[in-house]
């Protein structure tokens, strides 16, 4: 047997690199120098190329964790998150993370290994058709079949992920493509016929919108994730203040408009404040800005805002008219539209509307209940303590459930990209990895996670990643001993039959954290709450606080699914 067949591969011709090296070089050249992932057989060449490169890899403990971490990184920073996984089970473990990012329009690029092109379709070891599997949950996806296509595909993938309405893009790279020799080149600028990432708004449509605002007595902006991702919070603040427009923010837009602002309505919909839904009900003009009018906000499209004309601005024309019919549609990039609108709008005060909003807010405040004789910490008080301790400045990440809705109601956000939550998919297990990704996106910004005792266990393995990388995430477990949100629905709508929602056993979360060498404690007494939370927030490095909260609390107000804006549960 000749020696050359066994040793290291022959040196590549000058100017050529392996596909794997090309990927790593591309990432470095494009500022994507932090990657979350998990290795395996089909990506060994990729990991080999990364070894010693200037791309930093954070080894998560599950591919789902890696995907959510990249998602949290992207939401907090506005940059595209990158995740690596191997073929087969590695790739399928990304599915929930991709679906989550797709629902919430988060820019991600997932690079997966695949079996060699010659083996595709033969059910070879760890082969899964991740291209086929992810068609419905990505903005776009690729299976690279020619080494020569690789760099152009990567350039297109990053372009698609971050432009227009952002979203996840998956690039499946067979192993033989990773080892093939290619010439490294600057990829040609992506040209995708028919893809218009920044549609120019029609001047007439914007003029009609401005005219509608002029004529409106009780205007409301209903702002969504599109406003957060395009960074138009200043534009919105200026327009709202100039024309006395009340502002409701969807879960994904929390922080785009300061929660404490006089004109803020906060979260509308199912668990929104009563004043938010009543204001919408009284409004004569609702303008959606980069928002989906989704069913958790607009339960019954026929009875939504009966007095209002509906305006809708979105970069994605398919969103306009998807759920409810729109009187004033504007397709276009939000920033462009708001700039045009600012030129057209003559500022004018609406003191009566301002007064009405103040009145509604005073009449129906979001209350934090007292602990009372039960002596139990109220979960709402826990969330409020977090808000007080951070002043809304921290990146606050939630998991999914009751604690998430209380956080949405009671955290006083002051800036965009500082409240991260799984909205459209409602993915339990999102919080811990996402908080980790967010904390790694910008050193020095305190990051607080509020998770339920159910959801924290869905990606609890990431405590190892947190410890290994010394990620300063402050973890708070809102521990009610149950799957609170589902238990609440069972209480309200299924005759208190608590089928499989009350845990008969829960581990000691503080001791779990300690086993990962993360400082942790548990509290049960309301009197120590504020101090414990503030100590945690001010501590260095990661930490966990397990807070025993009252299991009987429900998220209120509540509009049952499918109901109108004033159908508050428990009334009439």
């Amino acid at each position: 047997m000749s020696a050359t067949k066994q040793g290291s591969p022959p040196p590549a011709p000058k100017g050529e690199v392996s596909g794997a090296e090309a990927i790593i070089r591309f990432l470095g050249d494009h500022g994507a120098d932090l990657v979350f992932g998990y290795p395996g057989g089909a990506v060994i060449p990729l990991y080999d190329a990364m070894f010693g490169s200037n791309v930093r890899h954070v080894l998560c403990r599950h591919e789902q964790g890696a995907a959510h971490a990249a998602d949290g990184f992207a939401r907090a920073s506005g940059r595209t998150g990158v995740v690596f996984a191997t073929s087969g089970p590695g790739a399928t473990n990304l599915v929930t993370g991709l679906a989550n990012a797709h629902m919430d329009s988060v820019p991600l690029v997932a690079i997966t290994g695949q079996v060699s092109t010659t083996s595709i379709g033969t059910d070879s070891f760890q082969e899964a058709d991740i291209y086929g599997i992810t068609i419905p949950i990505t903005k776009y996806n690729y299976l690279v079949k020619e080494p020569g296509d690789l760099l152009d595909v990567l350039a297109e993938a990053f372009h698609l992920a971050s432009s227009g309405r952002p979203g996840p893009v998956l690039v499946d790279v067979p192993k033989d493509i990773q080892v093939a020799q290619i010439r490294y080149h600057k990829p040609s600028p992506p040209a995708i016929p028919g893809y218009v990432p920044r549609p120019q708004p029609s001047a007439d449509e914007v003029a009609a919108l401005a005219e509608a605002v002029h004529r409106s007595m009780r205007p409301v902006f209903y702002v969504g994730g599109g406003a957060a991702s395009t960074g138009v919070h200043r534009e919105i603040l200026k327009l709202a203040e100039g024309s006395d427009v009340a502002v409701a923010t969807s879960l994904l837009a929390k922080g785009v408009f300061p929660d404490a602002h006089e004109l803020s309505l906060g979260l509308p919909g199912m668990h929104g404040a009563k004043y938010a839904n009543l204001a919408i009900n009284e409004s004569d003009l609702i303008i959606g800005l980069g928002v989906r009018f989704d069913d958790r906000v607009v339960g019954d499209v026929r009875r939504f805002a009966p007095l209002a004309r509906i305006g809708h601005v979105d970069v994605d024309p398919a969103e306009i008219g998807k759920r409810l019919s729109v009187d004033l549609p504007v397709t276009g990039d939000l920033k462009l539209v708001l700039d045009m609108l600012a030129k057209k709008l003559k500022p004018s005060g609406r003191p009566e509307w301002r007064a009405r909003i103040a009145e509604l807010k005073a009449a129906y405040p979001l209350a934090v209940p007292e602990s009372g004789p039960s002596g139990k910490i109220k979960p709402q008080a826990l969330v409020k303590a977090v808000s007080d301790a951070t002043g809304g400045e921290a990146v606050t990440v939630t998991d999914v459930g009751q604690h998430q809705m209380w956080a949405a109601q009671l955290i006083r956000s002051v800036k965009p990209r500082r409240f991260l939550s799984s909205g459209g998919l409602g993915t339990m297990g999102y919080g811990l990895p996402a908080a980790m990704g967010a904390a790694l996106s910008e050193p020095g910004v305190p990051t607080v996670l509020i998770a339920g005792d159910g959801g924290i266990q869905m990606n609890i393995q990431e405590l190892a990643t947190v410890r290994e990388n010394d990620v300063p995430v402050k973890i708070i477990v809102s521990n009610n001993g149950c799957l609170g949100m589902v238990r609440q629905w069972q209480q309200f709508f299924f005759g208190r039959r608590y089928s499989s929602t009350v845990f008969g056993y829960n581990p000691d979360f503080a001791r779990i954290a300690q086993a990962y060498d993360i400082p942790a404690r548990r509290i049960e007494d309301p009197s120590g709450l504020a101090e414990a939370v503030s100590d945690l927030v001010r501590s260095d490095g990661p930490g966990l606080l397990d807070v025993a909260v009252d299991p009987e609390e429900n998220v209120l107000p509540m509009i049952p699914a499918g109901k109108g804006q004033t159908d508050f549960f428990g009334e009439g």
Partner: protein
């Protein structure tokens, strides 16, 4: 209500999965889907016939337009469409019925592609309606197998005629 939607797409592997997947995923009611090359070898034309109410059809068009590989979506109103479809139909018969069936095939103007002692395969190309007529005409006999391509369409151009 029925609508013809003509979709021009980048000719990429997987593009049909993207379009077909979207249609099923969003629960649209598709009567037929036909794909084939165009005058430009980089572009494929997919013709969909979709059933539904106007707002749904509007959504179908918008959602398809959103697909990255889609270059252009043209809803073609029936009155402004040139349409065509092709079908192959195999009928079986007993020897006594042979002349009767040949007679009908002749009357319907169908082209015989293949013939056996007890079966014949005919081809018809034309409007969806003419194909339905042929099927109706043959239905008293035993239709053993049938393949239809689904409708293809082009918009009627004002100053163009096939003369």
């Amino acid at each position: 209500m029925k609508k013809i939607i003509s979709v021009l797409v980048r000719n990429r592997p997987g593009v049909l999965s993207h379009v077909a997947g979207l249609v099923t995923r969003r629960g649209y009611n598709v009567e037929s889907i036909a794909a084939g090359p165009t005058e430009n070898h980089e572009i494929t034309r997919i013709t969909l016939v979709v059933k539904g109410e106007e707002p749904v059809l509007d959504q179908v068009t918008k959602q398809i337009r959103k697909l990255i590989d889609v270059i252009k979506v043209e809803p073609i109103p029936h009155e402004a469409a040139m349409t065509g479809e092709l079908a192959l139909i195999t009928v079986s018969f007993t020897p006594e019925k042979k002349s009767e069936i040949m007679n009908i095939i002749g009357l319907l103007g169908l082209a015989i592609k293949h013939i056996e002692r007890d079966s014949a395969t005919v081809m018809i190309a034309g409007s969806a309606q003419s194909i339905d007529t042929a099927i109706n005409g043959l239905s008293p006999f035993h239709i053993k197998a049938m393949a239809r391509t689904g409708l293809v369409a082009l918009p009627l151009l004002e100053n163009w005629s096939p003369a």
